[in-house]
Structure formats: structure tokens, C-alpha cells
């Protein structure tokens, strides 16, 4: 695939200021999204998936974060080094983001109309009437019934699912080329979740935008994304197309994670587990960060941090022993 990706994160290392100095939140992260594609970033807490996503639009607190290395290439430029004014033009207009908690993502003292119209007036310079008309169209696009009346509601009158739809409407207002969705359905009921995911799918087709979907839910990734990146303890551990990842996971963590998900369609005696727990970001572990929990760890795993190895056909995994053994141990 010689096509240029739309956005490409290269060797990103982000550090947070902790009690005892700077700590790596993510280290050496690489991933990219093509035009019109959906990339899923999957991981548990502490994996760094949200940190990576927030870094794309530099949404971290300025005083407590530093970008120790790496670049985020978009439109021929590095977003990390972009001056603030230029970055503000990218935010909302070309790259948009929606967040997890619909309760706190909308300003409770502004009407829906005000909040949707804000990006329209800012980026497209529309008049109030024109912006309002477009805002109503956007609400209809996200399947909110009775849009011309609801647009004057305040957020507290809407349910969680509807607020998320409004968030999506705000995000796609300027037809962005990339939408970053950070756990957009985690706080929603499963029936509402499927509605929202269906909506995102339709919008993706209609607008032709790419989506980076961050989630901890493997099922959501399997149904929604084309490619997926698995993160653990601040590093990318595996990257592949969705069918390849679920058919033949290469990294022991990915495999463990897939097996630990309770099966909806089968009865089991006990769930498969990954022993131990996720390391604290400030903990320094020699070698592979997953090795303390890995049933297949060998000597070399405990000594040198492994590199991301190409297993062919766009499938990468950070586990040299596995790949050397042909993916089956």
C-alpha cells in the first residue's frame, strides 16, 4: 500500500510530570490512518491509548506534559511543532474529537444551538441565521428527531445517547477529514451503543472521513474498525488488520486479552486470565514491559526491550520470540 496515510504518528513519546519527576506515559508509539479508514486503538487503563489520541491535537495540560520525542505528520506538517494559531485552525475544522462522558462534554449553561453553531461560525464565518440552519441540518444528520425544536434545549434535558449525538454533530459540523473518538460509547447502554456506532459508520461513508476509535472493548473494534493497534503499558504491542488480529494474534498480551473477554455465546467453567496486574507507569521494568505477566517469557524478554517486528502482510508485533517461532509457540 504505497498510498500516503492521512495522519501518521511516528515514534511518539509523551511524558507527564509526576511526584518524582517526568514519567513516560507513552513511549515510541507508531501508527497511521489512511483516508476513509477506521483505525481502532485498543488497550486497558494505563495503556496510553487516550494519551496518544489527545496528543494529536495537543490537548494535554501544557505545564505538566512534554513531548519528549516523535512527530505527528498531517498534511505534510508536524502537528507537534505547529504554532498555536495554525493548530487552532486544524482543530475542529480538519481534525475533530469526541469524548467519552457525554454528561461533562457539553457546557450545561449553553443551549445546543450555541454549541453547534460555535465551530460553524468560527471556522466557516457563517452568519447567525445561516449557522442555525446548518445546525438544524446537522442534528437531523445525527438522527435527532424534532431537530428544530430540540436545538434550543439545554443539555440536561437530553439523555446520554442524545448528548453523544449532539457531540458528534458538533464534531462533524465542518466536515473534518479525521474524527478521533475517545471511548465514545463506553458510558452508554449497549443498545444505545449500537445505534451510535451505526451512526458513525453512516457518517463516515457520507462525509468520507477517517476515524480513530479508541476503546477497551474488543467487540467494538472487531465490528467497526478495519485496522487495529493494541497498546499495553504505554507501548504499541501489536498492529494488524482486524481479521488478522483476531484470527491469529501474535503478541501474548493480545492473545490473553482476547481470551479473557467473557464469551457471550458459550458456557465456560472458568474465564481465561492474564496473571498479575498492569504496571504503574512510574515502574521501571527491564526488558519487555509485559514479561512479568507473560507465561511464555524467555531469558531475552527480561533483558532487552523488544522491538516491533514485521510478521508480514502489515502485521506487526512486539514479540521477537513469537515471530521467530512462526507465530505459534
Amino acid at each position: 500500500m504505497a498510498e500516503q496515510p492521512l495522519l501518521s504518528v511516528e515514534n511518539l513519546t509523551v511524558q507527564f510530570r509526576g511526584d518524582a519527576g517526568w514519567v513516560n506515559a507513552v513511549e515510541g508509539v507508531d501508527f497511521s490512518v489512511g483516508a476513509g479508514e477506521c483505525l481502532g486503538i485498543v488497550g486497558e487503563s494505563g495503556s496510553g491509548k487516550s494519551v496518544s489520541a489527545l496528543s494529536i491535537l495537543k490537548l494535554h495540560s501544557q505545564s505538566n506534559t512534554r513531548y519528549a520525542s516523535g512527530a505527528i505528520r498531517y498534511g505534510g506538517r508536524d502537528l507537534l511543532t505547529l504554532p498555536r494559531r495554525r493548530l487552532r485552525q486544524v482543530r475542529g475544522r480538519e481534525i475533530a474529537m469526541i469524548f467519552q462522558d457525554p454528561m461533562s462534554s457539553l457546557n450545561p449553561v449553553l443551549t445546543i444551538a450555541d454549541q453547534i453553531m460555535e465551530p460553524l461560525r468560527q471556522h466557516q464565518g457563517l452568519s447567525v441565521q445561516a449557522a442555525r440552519r446548518q445546525a438544524i441540518e446537522l442534528l437531523e444528520m445525527v438522527r435527532i428527531s424534532d431537530a428544530s425544536r430540540r436545538i434550543d434545549d439545554y443539555p440536561h434535558r437530553l439523555s446520554g445517547g442524545m448528548r453523544q449525538r449532539v457531540m458528534i454533530a458538533i464534531a462533524v459540523a465542518c466536515r473534518p477529514r479525521l474524527l478521533i473518538a475517545d471511548e465514545p460509547t463506553t458510558a452508554l447502554d449497549v443498545t444505545i451503543q449500537s445505534q451510535i456506532l451505526e451512526l458513525l459508520r453512516e457518517l463516515q461513508r457520507e462525509i468520507g472521513m477517517s476515524v480513530i476509535l479508541i476503546t477497551h472493548d474488543l467487540g467494538v473494534v472487531a465490528e467497526f474498525a478495519q485496522r487495529v493497534v493494541v497498546m499495553y503499558a504505554g507501548r504499541v504491542v501489536e498492529s494488524a488488520s482486524v481479521p488478522a488480529l483476531f484470527e491469529r494474534p501474535m503478541h501474548p498480551y493480545t492473545e490473553g486479552l482476547i481470551r479473557a473477554v467473557p464469551n457471550l455465546d458459550e458456557d465456560v467453567h472458568r474465564l481465561a486470565t492474564i496473571p498479575g496486574s498492569i504496571p504503574d507507569p512510574s515502574m521501571s521494568i527491564a526488558g519487555c514491559r509485559f514479561s512479568p505477566r507473560c507465561r511464555e517469557a524467555v531469558k531475552s524478554c527480561l533483558v532487552e526491550p523488544p522491538a516491533l517486528v514485521d510478521a508480514g502482510a502489515g502485521h506487526f508485533a512486539r514479540c521477537p520470540p513469537r515471530i521467530a517461532a512462526g507465530g505459534i509457540l
Binding site: D19, S63, R270, S277, P292
Partner: protein, 295 residues
Amino acid sequence: MTEVVLATASTQVLAERRRFRVVRKLAAHRSFKIGLVLVTILLLCAIIGPMLTGIDPTAMSIRSRFKPPSARFPFGSDQYGRDILTRVLYGGRLSLSIGLSVALISGVFGALIGVTAGYFRALDPYVMRLMDALMAFPAILLAIGVGAALGAQASSIVVALAVAYVPRTARIVRASVLVIREMEYLQAARVSGAGDLHIIVKHVLPNCLGPLIVQLTFIFAYAILAEAALSFLGIGPPPPAPSWGNIIAEGRDYSVEAWWVMLFPGLAVSLAALGMNLLGDGLRDVLDPRLKIET
């Protein structure tokens, strides 16, 4: 079966023990350190200072009236020839103990009232309306009223100021209690059969302490300032016993010729209040980082 459970446990890594996390954070906080130094110096001066000077604060000497600061009278002397430095040191004892007493009394009563209002919701409206009524009075006026009723002595000032500040502490405690009562650990205690007293003593009060202590440091500072103001108005501890406030009051008439009489106790009051405020800021920032004001 148990082997699986235990095997899981043995590979669990407990977070490396970070002892005394709070103390280390405080040690790194600049405001806190400055405040702590100031308050410690003042406390030391107040406690042992008087013993070191060996001079009687009430000893008058007509020949030494209105002497400016010199080697013999480092802070100068007043209209009766009394050494201001010694008076400030003795005055510190009285003023600081008034501040401490006010803080502690308003803390204890505020906690009782706040817990009652926050925990027993049926009583809440009545208790808080009473507190609101108290708060409606400016503290100084209230103190004047109580002081006039009880007579002008240190103890009546303490009572007056404590009454004036109780609504503040009660509010803080009530706000904490309202949050804590929704916490699941409280419900877990209920499920285990714990009664209200057990829950209040073991769960509610310990978790209210943080914001309360921060508030008490500010009240300490207010009380010292208020005592100075009340003494200035003539409702403070009566002479000849020195307090910072009444030294300032006595020096009022001579503020132009003998500026040192008002200056040094005034500085003491300011430094005490400043020190306590900085201490309180540091405690607040460390205990509840969400409230931190970025410096």
C-alpha cells in the same frame, strides 16, 4: 482451584510503598515552607521570648518615654516608658493563644453542627438557617455585641469570635459530609450493621478533617486580625496586660511622633496572619490538588 487464585496473587505487584507522601509534598511546596517558618518563629518568640528578655512588660519609666528604637529599646518605648519589644513578645502569647482558642472552638462546634446538618438531613434546613442568620452579622459587630455583654476580657473575645466564625466551619464540614454520605464505604458499613454513631466517628469525621484543618488556619489568621481590631476599638483585653491589639490601640494617639509603637505590633499581626495563610494554602493544595490555583 485455590492454586489458581493464589498463583494470581503472587504475581500481583503491590504499588511500591510511598510513605509519607503528604509530608514530602508539603516539603516541596514553597508557600507552605515560608508560612511554616514564619509561624514557627513567631510561636518561638511568643513562648520563650518573654523568658529571655527578663524585662517586666509593665515596668514604667518616665525618663524613658517615647524613646525611638535603639540598643536599649530595640523596638522603642511607649508613653509610659515600657519596652515595646518585651510587650510585643508578651502580647504574642495572648494574641496567639486567642487565635488558637478561637480556631479550635469554632472547629469543634462547627464540626458538630456541620455533621448534624449534613448527616441528619431532616435537621439540615433548621441548622443551616441558624448559621445563615449568624453569618449575616459582620463578625466584628457580633464580637462587639458579645464582648459588651460579657465584659472586656480575653475570654469574651474568644467566645465572641468563635461564635462569629462557627458558620464558616459548619459550612465546610457540612459540604464534606454531603459528599461522604454518598460514598459506598459508608453504605458498606451500614450493610454490616453499623449504627450512625459508628459511621460518623469512623467514616465521616476522619474524612472531613482535611478541608476543616485548612479552614482553621485561615480562621486563626482572621482571629488575630480581629483581636487587633477589637482592641483598637476598645473591646479587647484590658490594659496593662499587653496584646498586639491593645499595644496598637494605645499607640494610636502618638502615631506620628512615636510611630514605632504601632509599627512593631502591627508587623507582628501581619506576619502571623500571613504565615498562617501561607500554611493553609500549602495544606489545601496538597490535600486537594483539584483546588490548586496554578502559580
